[in-house]
Amino acid sequence: MQSSDSSAILVTGVGITSAIGHGAADFTAALLEGRSNFAVMKRPGRQCATGDEPSTTQFIGAEIPSYSPPEGLPASILRTASLSGQVALASLHEAWRDAKLQDVDPVRIGLVVGGSNVQQRELTRAHESYRERPQFLRPTYGLSFMDSDISGMCSEVFGIRGFAYTLGGASASGQLAAIQAVQAVASGQVDVCIAVGALMDLSHWECQGLRSLGAMGSDEFADRPQLACRPFDRRTDGFIFGESCGVVVVERAGSATRAGVNPYARVAGWAVRMDANRNPNPSFEGEVSVIRQALQSAGFAPQSIDYVNPHGTGSRLGDATELKTIEEVGLKHAFLNTTKSLIGHGLSAAGASELVATVLQMRAGQLHPCGNLDQPIDDSCNWVRGRAMEHRIRRAVKISLGFSGINCAMCLESS
């Protein structure tokens, strides 16, 4: 992209690991085909069970099948890396090469890993394994129990020396990490900043808690997992979890002059707003205000937006509130699809994985279909249904929301 404005902030690299595909090419193809991969979850520690007894739960989600780390990652690091850590390294590996970061001064690179308490399943398994013999708990537990072990491993493997830490914002973490990355670059703190939406590795405890809270589905589709994830559909009964890890690299146009760098989009604006509310319920006012603020910071009129990638989890109240918001802010004309309907709700990763989906659709010139959108709660929106459609996105709005009244939005313009 030729930009006469060297201070424009660009997305110059992406990485993605998901339950439907690894890497940008596979992921794009899977999204456009409308593929999903929901089932009763099998990863050890995801269902309640005692000893060798059969599990008493059947939590549904989308799990990454047959994952193996890319070549070249140090075995010594991988040995004690959690699933979240391994997948972060793999996704970052892809984004690093995509953005050609090997030629950037390490002190001028920053890293924000979005997500908190992302390694729950690994911790739970360690607790359960060592309950009767706690003195033999591995020493590395003392290092790796913290989420910052993930940013630390990324910093070591890729030689990142500017800054590297984690950021907790519930289901908005991934997008908040991207916003933090944009701010770090805009301020000049670093030249390149990487945002990783960490894989939220839930244990059966979190699944149970989220089900009891009424946030996670599904009762109606408990026996038909492939139908359970249905954001904005009349029959939705909660979000369905999906493992993913998304990475975006951002930098100023003036810095993105390395050979082979091919920017995906310009980050035109963003906003964060809080509802001053500790609870999980959404706020129409908060969502409206954050989108208006983001549009204003981008200098975009709502009519000029042609695509919205919503938070769209499949929460009945959340979905209804979000559609009311989209109408109120004047975005109802825009094409709308639900990445979560295909990859599940990545929780900490969601905002970052969906930003990746947004820019990949920009590059592909196509929009992916919504999964299970049989009867939209509002039929008058411009849904992408049934199959992928040809459309060159010019301007997009990405929305992420989180428990405890977090609202954030970002405006992107395609390269």
């Binding site: 010594s76 040995r79 013999r133 033999f136 020493p139 590395t140 290092l143």
Partner: protein
């Protein structure tokens, strides 16, 4: 359990923690540190060994050992 058995356990765990040591011919007068184990690696190797031996002693009782042979002696004496 004799010292050879303990030596085999220590070296097996050393190879798990440091894959580059697979195929290495360990000698009792070698130290884990010079074989490339940093302090966390060494703690892991010793802890895995204690677990394999079901030997409940504080890690601190093993730190005086300056090589694998001395470590084996310490562990053997506690069994």
């Amino acid at each position: 359990m004799n010292k050879e058995d303990i030596f085999a356990i220590v070296t097996r765990h050393a190879q798990e923690v440091i894959p580059a040591l697979r195929g290495h011919q360990f000698q009792p007068n070698q130290s884990l540190r010079e074989l490339g184990a940093n302090s966390i690696d060494r703690s892991e190797i010793v802890m895995m060994t204690l677990e394999s031996l079901a030997l409940r002693i504080p890690l601190v009782e093993t730190v005086k050992a300056t090589n694998i042979g001395e470590l084996v002696n310490v562990l053997h004496a506690k069994l």
